[in-house]
Symmetry: C2
Subunit: 210 residues, 2 copies
């Protein structure tokens, strides 16, 4: 924006200079006013970029919490028979394994996206990093929601069971296990909400580039 504008004003001046009557004083306040507008827009965009960075760190924290809570979940019941020891671990259910893998990817992405967010703070008018952030944030929203939704379905089944399919609830036995897993799912949904907010912020910052 800044660039194209100054180019146009240069062209106007050149035209006038060719005609030998260049009212430079007349254009100066216009340029100054345009600069002030640019500056105000840059300030607003910088504020959005700083907020973006803070939200990104919050999303990182909740995604890491979800991954760690799920990944360290196992419960061994305090009684056992001669042949069995009853224990539940997250990797008994493939959905929870997917959850841990997906949240690990989300955590890694959020770490890698921080430099782009910082670039947006340093250069409030940069469009490409914002655009990249919007695109990859959207993909990561899909990944996180998929992991959170699938685990929520399994957690619901573990809590309530299903009579029609003859699947029994396992949370009566493994109460602690179910609590931790539910917590991890909630943390994943919190991450989704923060990520949606990040996309909305980035899109409104792009809009200000007009």
């Amino acid at each position: 924006m800044e660039k194209s504008e100054s180019t146009k004003i240069d062209v106007v001046e050149t035209n006038k200079e060719r005609k030998g009557k260049a009212p430079l004083l007349g254009t100066a306040p216009v340029v100054a006013a345009a600069g002030a507008v640019e500056h105000a827009k840059g300030g607003a965009n910088r504020g959005i970029a700083i907020f973006d960075l803070i939200l990104r760190i919050a999303a990182f924290a909740s995604a890491l919490g979800a991954a760690v809570a799920m990944g360290t979940t196992e419960e061994t019941l305090p009684f056992f028979t001669q042949f069995f020891q009853f224990e539940a671990s997250y990797d008994d259910l493939p959905t929870f394994t997917f959850f841990v893998a997906a949240m690990a990817i989300v955590v890694a992405y959020l770490v890698l996206s921080v430099p782009f967010s910082i670039v947006c703070i340093v250069r409030p008018h940069a469009v490409v990093p914002r655009l990249l952030l919007i695109i990859f944030d959207t993909v990561i929203i899909a990944l996180t929601t998929g992991a959170a939704g699938s685990s929520a379905a399994i957690v619901y089944l573990a809590h309530n069971g299903n009579q029609d399919a003859n699947w029994l609830a396992i949370c009566q036995q493994f109460g602690d296990f179910c609590q931790r897993v539910s917590g991890a799912v909630v943390a994943a949904f919190v991450t989704v909400v923060i990520l949606i907010f990040l996309v909305v912020l980035s899109a409104s910052a792009l809009r200000r580039h007009r």
Copy 2:
């Protein structure tokens, strides 16, 4: 863009007119050149908007297909005992009921978003409708992925069962039911992919507003 530019040029002219030496011929080609650039950008944006509309209709079709396939799924086994008739229906599993409800919302949203998409075709420089589309598309991506992911987890369980939780696979008995449900989940994931592509398109169109 168009508006602010014409305003600035007006100001320049006013300044010059006040000084009594207005080289109107000098500024005319500049305005024309700027108009040509605007026109080219508008054409690209219009192309993106038309593509957006086509993709939106495709997403509508796949979402409707997913909702209908899931909502009409039921299977009655061809044998029965004195007391039971074995049948499986999508509303035996709460996750599938959620899937149908979520996909119905997605279908309704996609219908309602078509006018906004048409506005973007008619006015390629309009920013507000594009911004609204990005924001709501992102929310709908989360909803669709949540529904698709949770149903995928249950479908996986129905196909494979889980030994650790003592949940038996039910697809041996209800093979047709499982096929239809799997098809609906795949259609939902196709919708997600199209929606992500829609957000990327809208964001890149916003970028062109510079």
